[in-house]
């Protein structure tokens, strides 16, 4: 599931992932993501941080604190690249990984494949 308030980013990511054979769903913001998770169980959530209404960090924390969704790997996919932001992703928001944009296509696909196959354990 791609969660990003920018339609262009969602479109680009969707095309990229579908080309690799992945099925993709989208959410426009954190609230829509949490709502969709009541009915859907994606294998991975790619989550933007800077979104209106609720930051991605808060969305991730809610996903990870909910018994029903905590096992879904969550990766922040963001232009926020400082070490402090990465620590916040891994520790406060309990996300499984932090991917800094821009990242080249090949590396992004390798990271997604890894997160789907053997997401890091806490």
């Amino acid at each position: 599931m791609i969660v990003d308030d920018e339609p262009d980013i969602r479109y680009l990511l969707r095309k990229m992932l579908e080309k690799e054979g992945y099925e993709v769903t989208e959410a426009r913001d954190g609230r829509e993501c949490l709502e969709k998770l009541k009915k859907e169980r994606p294998d991975l959530i790619l989550l933007d941080i800077m979104m209106p209404g609720m930051f991605g960090w808060e969305v991730s924390r809610r996903i990870k604190e909910d018994e029903a969704t905590k096992s879904i790997p969550v990766a922040m996919l963001t232009v926020r690249t400082s070490e402090e932001d990465k620590v916040k992703s891994l520790e406060e928001s309990l996300a499984d990984w932090h991917i800094s944009k821009p990242m080249d296509r090949e590396k992004l696909m390798e990271t997604i494949k890894w997160l789907l196959e053997t997401p890091p354990k806490r």
């Binding site: 070490e83 990465k86 620590v87 800094s100 590396k107 990271t111 053997t118 890091p120 354990k121």
Partner: protein
């Protein structure tokens, strides 16, 4: 004037002291005059790793102003070391602020001063980092070690320590975070990967760094490769 390199980790138990000692041995074998200093005064382990049980003077005696740093340098059969005292009472009267001066003094005599830093980001760890010009991060391939390494990078940047790269230790499980992903998230180059191996435990038991104990072993070779990559970064034009 030589350079000083902190071997640091945000998390304890990642094998930092073993890597510091073995890097010292390997650099000495490359004919680079090197001294390894135990900067972990509350959990000194360099003496155990190098088999130095009764040094002429300990880093604790230096930091309490009783002895000169030069009195504490001892040959550990291939590498010069300054080890700590494991007795709790040795922690009395220590002034860790002297540490920076001690490292500076050693840098006048040795090409490379390696400082085995305390784990974490407490006062002593930050002081030890501040005392060094450059830093190598040591971490294990798991999420908590990655997160702690990120915090160490923040502090290293704040104190003006140049980050030479990271060494990922105790690898070999299929659940490891891949080294490429670790390099991506840390935003720094990996200068080495050391596999988990019984040989490390045996070398600890024997009190000899692996690079001395079994120099032809695969692991010792990996540690030598780390030292070689480190040299490329320290002296790129040689």
């Amino acid at each position: 004037m030589g350079t000083s390199i902190a071997v640091a980790s945000g998390k304890g138990g990642v094998g930092k002291s073993i890597i510091a000692a073995n890097l010292g041995v390997s650099l000495s074998k490359f004919k680079v005059s090197t001294v390894v200093v135990d900067g972990n005064v509350e959990g000194a382990s360099l003496g155990l790793i190098t088999g130095i049980k009764s040094p002429p003077a300990s880093i604790h005696e230096v930091l309490s102003g009783k002895r000169s740093i030069y009195d504490a340098v001892v040959d550990a059969g291939g590498v010069k070391v300054v080890v700590g005292d494991v007795a709790i009472e040795s922690l009395r009267d220590i002034n860790f602020d002297i540490f920076e001066k001690a490292v500076e003094e050693l840098s006048k005599k040795y090409e490379v001063v390696i400082v085995d830093c305390p784990p974490g980001l407490g006062r002593d760890a930050v002081t030890a980092l501040s005392a060094c010009e450059q830093v190598i991060l040591v971490l294990t391939p798991d999420i908590s070690a990655v997160s702690e390494a990120l915090k160490t990078i923040v502090v290293a940047k704040k104190v003006g320590c140049i980050i030479l790269g990271a060494v990922v230790n105790k690898t070999g499980s299929k659940y490891d975070i891949p080294k490429e992903r670790i390099s991506d998230i840390l935003g720094i180059e990996l200068i080495g990967e050391i596999r988990e191996d019984e040989a490390v435990k045996k070398s600890l038991f024997e009190g000899k760094p692996l690079a001395l104990h079994k120099p032809s072993s695969q692991l010792a070779m990996e540690l030598t490769n780390v030292a070689a990559r480190l040299l490329e970064r320290l002296y790129p034009y040689k």
